[in-house]
Amino acid sequence: MSRVSERLEAAVRANSDDLLAYLERRVGIDDAPDTLAEVMTVAWRRAKHLPTLPVEARMWLFGIARNVVSNAARTRIRRTRLADRLREVASAASMPAADDGVEVREAIAALDTDLSEIVRLRHWEGFSLAEIASILDEPASTVRSRYAKARDLLATALADAEPQATPRLR
């Protein structure tokens, strides 16, 4: 195996769990395995662009995942046998729990796409703003200002959505 192949395989193995979680959050638990197979296929296709440093390779893989998710919105990802086994065991391992974050997720989804993705990457995936800039291939200053704008909008939207305190009558 060539050095780039070795590095890419190591990067994919090291990040496959996080990539699967990212995709489960974006496209749902059922479609995530096929989307992950597509992400891996694209990564191999673009192997020569793999950054040398592992941390940069991680951002590169998430950048690919993000693009695949964006494309999946336009063209449905094909179901592949490659993903069947993962779908089977992953579904068995899922724990759909009582979920009280629906309102917040709806507020995030109501933002413009270039704002909502930053919020999700920051709060759902735990990336720093500098890392998000790398994944989105945007200047860090742009990401910072969009994040600040997104927070303001979310704060307003969520405050508006909160039930108003009713004055207690005595």
Binding site: E9, R13, I29, K48, L82, A93, M95, R122, D152, L154
Partner: protein, 213 residues
């Protein structure tokens, strides 16, 4: 926003993360299997005597970049099996994509696997084909019907164009050799699109250039 409202918002956003599946040994195994299955497999083959039987040249070498500097124009570009890079004699760097493989399912599968290798050009003997190109005879027919030499050193010769042709031919020959070794070569075809910004064309154009390459 006050600090307390900041913290409150952070907490809400962090807590809004959708549920995901959790790790199990079976899921880890399935993920590892997927990594292995999606990795292009390289099949080494014994080096054979090269029989050039008319390859499928890279199309558009040197010209596609001007047509569309923002993205590939081929309809199959999103499903290309590989992206390749190579350097022309002038130093210009070409990028190309390979895709739209057609043929029997066996040969398409084998061809895509071969062409998807990250180090594809390790299996491709471009220099021999370029040496063949340089050694061939070229005759240009001008607009008035005159025939003149169009080989290396003449204004009708572009080393960059011929090198790009050699890359396309060498790739095609290597692929066909590989499929022949596997016994699956029948009627394969595929397409390539390339862009070579900064490549140096021939100084003069002729009505037609013939060669025995």
């Amino acid at each position: 926003m006050t600090d307390s409202r900041d913290h409150e918002l952070d907490a809400k956003l962090n807590a809004s993360v959708p549920v995901t599946t959790h790790r199990t040994r079976e899921r880890d195994d399935a993920l590892r299997a997927m990594v292995a299955a999606t990795r292009p497999k390289r099949r080494l083959r014994p080096r054979m005597g090269v029989a050039i039987a008319g390859g499928i040249a890279l199309v558009g070498a040197g010209g596609v970049a001007a047509a569309d500097a923002l993205g590939w124009t081929s309809w199959w570009a999103d499903d290309a099996v590989n992206e390749v890079t190579y350097t022309l004699p002038s130093g210009a760097v070409c990028e190309g994509i390979l895709g739209n493989f057609r043929g029997t399912s066996e040969e398409v599968e084998a061809a895509e696997e071969f062409m998807a290798q990250p180090d594809l050009f390790d299996s491709v003997d471009v220099e021999t084909h370029y040496a063949d190109a340089r050694a061939a005879n070229y005759v240009a027919t001008l607009d008035d019907g005159t025939e003149v030499d169009a080989g290396p050193g003449t204004p009708y010769w572009s080393a960059d164009d011929r090198y790009a042709d050699a890359v396309g031919l060498a790739t095609s020959v290597a692929l066909h050799d590989h499929l022949r070794d596997l016994g699956v070569l029948e009627r394969l075809s595929y397409e390539a699109e390339s862009r070579c910004p900064g490549s140096v064309p021939a100084e003069l154009r002729a009505r037609e250039i013939r060669s025995d390459w």
